[in-house]
C-alpha cells in the first residue's frame, strides 16, 4: 500500500492528507472513471478477501462480504471524506460488514477464545534451542533479499501471501490488521474484542511463523 507520496510520511488518524497519487485516484473514482475503479478492484480485492477470511468461517461468506463491501464503496464514494487513506476506509467498511454478517449468521468468531487457544504452548519448536537456551542454528543473513526483490519479486511476495493464509485465524486477523493494513493496537483490540496482551501474543506468534516461512522463501 503506497500512500502519502508528498513526503509527509504516514500521518496519524485525524491529520491524514492524501498524497497526489491517491487524491488523483479518488477524483477519478468520483468522476465515474471505469479504469480507475478497475485499478482499485485489482489492487484491493484479493486483500479484502484475505481480510474477510479471518472473520468468516467459509470462503463463500467471505466472498459475499467483499461483494457487499464493494457495493458500499461504490455508493459511499461521494461521502468519502479523505480524512483517512482510501484503503483504510474500505477496510473499515469490510470489517463492519464481516462482523455484522457473522453475528447475523450466529457464527461470530470469538477472537478472545481463539487468542487463548492459539496462545497456548510454546511459540517455538523446542528443537530450535539447545538445552542452555542458545539457538540451535545460526541465522544466515538474508543477503539474497535485495530491495528490488522485496518490492517486486512476485513469486516471493505471493509466497508470503500464502504463508499469511496458513496462519491460525486470530493470528491471521491480527497480523493482517496490524502489519499488512497498518491499524494501531487500540483499534485492533476494539475491532476483535481482545486485550492488548492477547494482541501481543498473537502478533508474536504470527510474525514468528511468517519469519520462518520468509526465511525459506528468501533462500528459494
Amino acid at each position: 500500500m503506497r500512500r502519502n507520496q508528498g513526503g509527509i510520511g504516514v500521518a496519524p488518524q485525524g491529520s491524514y492528507q492524501a498524497g497526489a497519487e491517491e487524491a488523483a485516484l479518488v477524483a477519478r473514482l468520483r468522476a465515474g472513471d471505469q479504469a480507475a475503479f478497475r485499478q482499485l478492484v485489482r489492487a484491493r480485492h484479493g486483500r479484502l478477501l484475505r481480510l474477510a477470511g479471518a472473520f468468516c468461517r467459509s470462503r463463500a461468506s467471505a466472498e459475499e462480504v467483499v461483494q457487499e463491501t464493494w457495493l458500499a464503496v461504490i455508493t459511499g464514494l461521494h461521502g468519502f471524506s479523505g480524512e483517512a487513506p482510501l484503503a483504510a476506509w474500505i477496510n473499515g467498511i469490510l470489517v463492519n460488514k464481516a462482523k455484522t454478517r457473522a453475528v447475523r449468521d450466529g457464527r461470530m468468531v470469538n477472537f478472545s477464545d481463539l487468542a487463548r487457544e492459539e496462545g497456548e504452548g510454546d511459540a517455538f519448536e523446542p528443537e530450535r534451542f539447545l538445552p542452555d537456551g542458545h539457538w540451535a542454528e545460526q541465522h544466515r543473513p538474508w543477503d539474497a533479499l535485495t530491495p528490488e526483490r522485496e518490492a517486486g519479486d512476485r513469486e516471493l511476495l505471493a509466497g508470503v501471501g500464502e504463508a499469511l493464509e496458513k496462519l491460525p485465524p486470530a493470528q491471521r486477523a491480527v497480523v493482517l490488521l496490524r502489519d499488512v493494513e497498518g491499524l494501531d493496537s487500540a483499534a485492533i483490540c476494539a475491532t476483535l474484542g481482545i486485550s492488548e496482551a492477547n494482541l501481543r501474543v498473537l502478533l508474536h506468534r504470527a510474525r514468528t511463523k511468517l519469519r520462518d516461512a520468509a526465511d525459506r522463501l528468501v533462500r528459494g
Binding site: 530450535r128 542458545h134 539457538w135 538474508w142
Partner: protein, 81 residues
C-alpha cells in the same frame, strides 16, 4: 543475562516498544553480544515489510467485470463525461 530463547520470546515486545524497561534493557544487553539474535530480530523486522507487500490473487475477470458494471450504473455523479 537472558538466553537466546528468552530474547526470541521477547522479540515482538522489544520491537514494539511495549516491554517494561528492565526487560528491554535485558534484551538490549543480549543483542549487543549476540550476532545470531541480532540477525533474527533484523529478519523479524524485514518480515513485517514483506507482509505489507504480500500479494493476493487478483479477482477473477467476471468478478471485476460485474463490479465495474455496477460502478457504471451507480458510481457516477450523474454528469456524463
Amino acid at each position: 543475562m537472558l538466553t537466546c530463547h528468552q530474547v526470541a520470546e521477547e522479540a515482538t515486545e522489544y520491537m514494539e516498544g511495549t516491554a517494561p524497561p528492565p526487560r528491554r534493557l535485558g534484551v538490549w544487553a543480549h543483542l549487543r553480544l549476540c550476532p545470531n539474535c541480532r540477525e533474527y530480530l533484523r529478519q523479524l523486522g524485514r518480515t513485517i515489510g514483506l507482509a505489507r507487500q504480500a500479494l493476493a490473487p487478483p479477482p477473477p475477470a467476471e468478478v471485476e467485470d460485474q463490479l465495474a458494471a455496477i460502478f457504471a450504473t451507480q458510481g457516477r455523479p450523474g454528469a456524463a463525461e
